[in-house]
């Protein structure tokens, strides 16, 4: 028996603030988290990135010194979700954590305040699990930049087909580190200013950090959003560059649309990293799916690329678009800059919204597309 699965709660912590409502309000105000940062612990030159301020949130959790910075952010997000929705920590609650690199900032760094063993993702998951006393150990997923969206899909599948779980909390997070910044810099993937997704003059991405999560249930409540279709396909083409034909993303979107059935999409929350090749690939995939006219945005111009959090953060913001009947513009966009046109949202627009498509793509050739709709 297949169960429908709904998102009945959400949470987001970013440089723009704590709480998904607040983050959405900041988007409406056109507030952007990307700033120039000169910090030799991250990089030997100035980078444009979005970083969560230290200090204003650590006191909100118990025993903060026993947890790494990223663990504290995960704990804060989980704590807020659990408290707000009275989520049981019993055996019927599945807990999934998505992260690309976890506590990797501890690795090799002589300044690290925790032993290197803590850089292993299971050590982070165990620490977070202990804090809440979850009966089920949190399940980490590390699948490059689709981790957040993929984690929603994995949780949905286990609720949909399995008998063990009745509900799931899915939280994703990543933080800025020298490890990540130096790698993207070596790839020459970082823009030397605020990023410009889908724009003609885009020159690369900005890194960001965030923790975001959703609460899934097979029982819809008022205001629930249904996950009505998911597709995921590998490009089988290149490990570090997107497919020139958008093949994997095209197949993913088609699969999601087939499953969702006859749903008119009101907007697309694209991956839109603002690298030349990613945005071009997405434009081609949207065109091949007949979606070139659907209003689309990337939120990377507000939050930067938050890696393992991005799929979750951007999904949560899109859910608030549905709830508020408001399309959020794509920050940093001025001129069409892809071989196939994309209907980029440039003005905040009030209109009834029922369904949206979220896409993500990542290193290793992975792609995922998910369709969400009002109940």
């Amino acid at each position: 028996m297949k169960h429908d699965v709904y998102i009945i709660g959400d949470e987001a912590i970013s440089p723009l603030g704590i709480g998904s409502e607040l983050n959405f309000q900041r988007l409406r105000n056109n507030d952007r988290a990307i700033v120039p940062i000169m910090d030799t612990h991250l990089c030997d030159h100035t980078i444009y990135a979005a970083r969560i301020d230290e200090g204003y949130w650590s006191h909100l959790i118990n025993d903060a010194p026993h947890y790494t910075r990223l663990e504290r952010l995960f704990i804060l997000a989980l704590q807020r979700l659990i408290n707000r929705h009275d989520i049981p920590v019993d055996g019927e609650t599945l807990v999934i954590l998505s992260t690309t690199k976890g506590n990797v900032s501890l690795l090799g760094d002589p300044r690290a305040a925790f032993p290197e063993q803590r850089a292993r993702i299971p050590a982070m998951a165990a620490a977070i699990g202990r804090y809440f006393g979850f009966e089920n150990q949190p399940i980490p997923i590390s699948n490059a930049c689709i981790s957040g969206s993929l984690a929603i899909s994995v949780a949905r599948r286990l609720l949909r087909y399995g008998g063990k779980y009745k509900r799931a909390v899915v939280v994703g997070g990543d933080e800025l580190s020298k490890f990540i910044v130096s790698g993207f810099d070596a790839f020459q993937a970082l823009a030397d200013g605020p990023c410009r997704p889908f724009d003609r003059d885009r020159k690369g991405l900005n890194l960001g950090e965030a923790v975001a999560g959703v609460y899934l249930s097979t029982v819809p409540v008022a205001g629930a959003v249904k996950i009505s279709g998911v597709g995921s396909s590998n490009d089988a083409n290149h490990i570090s560059g997107p497919s020139r034909t958008g093949e994997g993303l095209y197949l993913s979107i088609r699969e999601a649309m087939d499953e969702a059935g006859d749903v008119a999409l009101d907007f697309i929350s694209a991956h839109g990293t603002a690298t030349v090749y990613n945005d071009e690939m997405e434009a081609i995939a949207f065109q091949r799916c007949g979606l070139s006219a659907v209003p689309a945005h990337s939120l990377k111009g507000y939050f930067g690329h938050t890696l393992g959090a991005s799929g979750l953060l951007e999904t949560v913001m899109a859910i608030h678009s549905l709830k508020n009947s408001e399309l959020v513009p794509s920050a940093g966009f001025a001129h069409q800059g892809t071989s196939q046109p994309v209907n980029i949202i440039t003005q905040p627009t009030q209109r009834p919204l029922n369904a949206f498509l979220k896409t993500a793509s990542g290193f290793g050739g992975c792609n995922i597309a998910t369709i969400f709709q009002n109940v």
Binding site: M1, T100, K101, G102, V104, L107, G108, D109, P110, A119, R120, I121, P122, A125, A126, Q137, I139, P140, I141, S142, N143, A144, L150, V154, R157, L158, R160, Y161, G162, G163, K164, K178, F179, S182, G183, D185, A186, F187, S232, S233, N234, D235, A236, N237, H238, I239, S240, E247, G248, L251, G362, F363, G364, G365, C366, I368
Partner: protein, 208 residues
């Protein structure tokens, strides 16, 4: 409780310096053989020409070899074969190398060729290219081999496929010091049922 009738069509283990396919040894080497040399020996024994292999890190190479050997037993993979992998150390071999590169005192510099392998799912990208798998991938990170999670998740994934159920799954813990890999193909034919009990037994038997 639903009845699943999925079957293990072939499996491969890499333990220490021994590679076995369906329980039969493919390659054994002295335990002191460095990981890189051991994987190169295995590649030579495969007798294929795939220059990309030499660019991969140890995790990708081990998964590549096991995937190749399983295909020789269970047949060419269908394009929709889902990939469901898990390990403890993620991409630790490349993570440690990249961390060393950027924190060393003399000339700290990041290498793109190393950084690209600092994600565990790159291995799934590599075998997707090799076998033209346009399928879904997921990489879980657990503190130990966990068939209690993997088997129900694989069953749900196979139930979700329209027809011709096919998945490549397993535990792929590969570091310089430890090789502990069990990969298996799940399909609809074969003598062994895809079950938690069988996969526990397989993991433990092959450990002896």
């Amino acid at each position: 409780m639903e009845l699943h009738n999925y079957r293990i069509t072939a499996f491969c283990t890499i333990r220490g310096r021994s590679i076995r396919v369906n329980g039969k040894e493919f390659l054994g080497a002295d335990p002191s053989t460095p990981l890189g040399d051991f994987l190169k020996l295995a590649y030579r024994k495969l007798a294929i020409d795939y220059p990309k292999f030499h660019k991969m890190d140890g995790l990708c190479k081990a998964i590549f070899i096991a995937t190749e050997l399983i295909a020789r037993e269970s047949g060419r993979y269908k394009h929709h074969t889902a990939l469901i992998f898990a390990n403890r150390s993620s991409s630790y071999i490349s993570d440690a190398r990249h961390a060393h590169d950027i924190f060393r005192a003399d000339n700290p510099v990041a290498s793109p060729a190393t950084f690209v392998y600092t994600l565990p799912n790159i291995a799934m990208g590599e075998i997707s290219i090799r076998h033209q798998l346009q399928s879904e991938n997921v990489f879980f990170i657990f503190d130990r081999y966990l068939p209690e999670f993997l088997v129900p998740y694989a069953n749900a994934t196979l139930d979700n496929q329209q027809a011709d159920a096919s998945a490549l799954c397993g535990w792929t813990e590969i570091t310089e010091g430890q090789c502990d890999l069990l990969l298996y193909h799940i399909g609809t034919s074969g003598s062994q049922t895809h079950s938690i009990e069988y996969l526990k037994r397989l993991y433990n038997e092959e450990d002896e």
